[in-house]
Symmetry: C2
Subunit: 277 residues, 2 copies
Amino acid sequence: MVLYIIGLGMGTEDDITLRGLNAVKSCTRVYLEAYTSILCVGKEKLEALYGKEVTLASREMVESESDTILDGAKEGNVAMLVVGDPVCATTHTDMMIRARELDIPVEVIHNASVMGAAGSCGLHLYNFGATVSIPYFTEGWRPYSFWEKTAYNRKGGMHTLALLDIKTKEPDFEALAKGKKVYLPPRFMSVNVALEQMLEAAESKGEEEGNYSKDTMCVGMARLGQKDQCIKVGSIEELLKEDFGEPLHCLVICADDVHELELEAMKHYIVAGSRYA
Amino acid sequence: MVLYIIGLGMGTEDDITLRGLNAVKSCTRVYLEAYTSILCVGKEKLEALYGKEVTLASREMVESESDTILDGAKEGNVAMLVVGDPVCATTHTDMMIRARELDIPVEVIHNASVMGAAGSCGLHLYNFGATVSIPYFTEGWRPYSFWEKTAYNRKGGMHTLALLDIKTKEPDFEALAKGKKVYLPPRFMSVNVALEQMLEAAESKGEEEGNYSKDTMCVGMARLGQKDQCIKVGSIEELLKEDFGEPLHCLVICADDVHELELEAMKHYIVAGSRYA
């Protein structure tokens, strides 16, 4: 009947909309996509609120086995729950296209996402340029591609939202070599690791236009939209010493020209002793 | 006690989150800010859902008389309801700063906004550059400042979301001259008017790098996030002939380089006979 793709927002089970909750209640099967972001409550909380069983959907399931999920959607409604907003990640596009091919109506129910909530720090969202992703560097793989976009944004007077790497369901290659299929514990990149990597990229570029330095104003944010969200403003050097607590973290690298109304709204979050205080 | 600033999302009364609804129910006074966007239901619907009276707050009230709204917030909770997400518009910043000065705790409850829902068309949100606003041109005032940002975005391979002018509570100067204070009916810019104005700006710029033309791919969107939302993809010339229906409208001017996964997801929305079909 209908494939609902429903945003859960960024906090707890109570961040679903009334429209989203009504849709879930009409469904015969409910899936939760939980690999591009994390919910800060267990799926039991969702099940208690919905009065329904919720099935965790892995990346493979969402990206490659959408027919399994869509199977039966002609007879009863199916819900795919997504942390944040469904159209902010791109992982559900395939499923939507597949549903249309099968003549299953798709209804997207929006919610808050990090791309909107990033405005909580006081920077104006319409001044943000392209968003970058910061992957975990390894010894032999240190891609600086986020640097180009960040520098281009800064040259044009735009801020840059950086989304930080999440590693879930990573195979443990040591165990694999011994014939055991084991996954490593999930990892969520901290603001501190991201800033270190971004600084490494900046230092490799030198005097190029749009480059940032350890003195550039940044905003570190953690658990945005949750009751205990943490927002700190300072230079890269200053924020490297700060603790942002539990995941998820994200980061904004400011343009050199921060509007005075933005500064006024950010004042509240500047770290003690900052060069920007 | 607490000043809640609560996003209502983009559709009807059911788009509030459970957390938002619980907060409203705890409040002694509830205001609705309704001049930067429009809700597609009357405030009576909200009042019926909340079981509370809702007071419409004008621009002057929100921006200049925040003390009236905050008055009493030390004794009981106060809610300011905002269409979309509270941090996507910048109009509530003053009120938040003022509340902090008065030692009133502020809690923001996020929701979906046009800046997130713009991804519904299939373009990837992380490829969007700075957002532009298109004001109604008048005979003597035709500012092309949106052109600079759009061209810079396009040069850098980024899409541009254009938010379209809303005129509410405009004084009727003819009536005013006769000593009567009368307001003109509200006006909401259509995709068509916006495209005409954007094309005028482009034609005045000629061959400059990043410029767009009547053949550039655009996305016209209306009533995003509502059940009858309308999304159409085509060249500027093609979309000028399309009807998008009731407000609110918004618009995306694409980068020249649209990713094949974006194209795949947009196919569904391309207008019949388009050069992009």
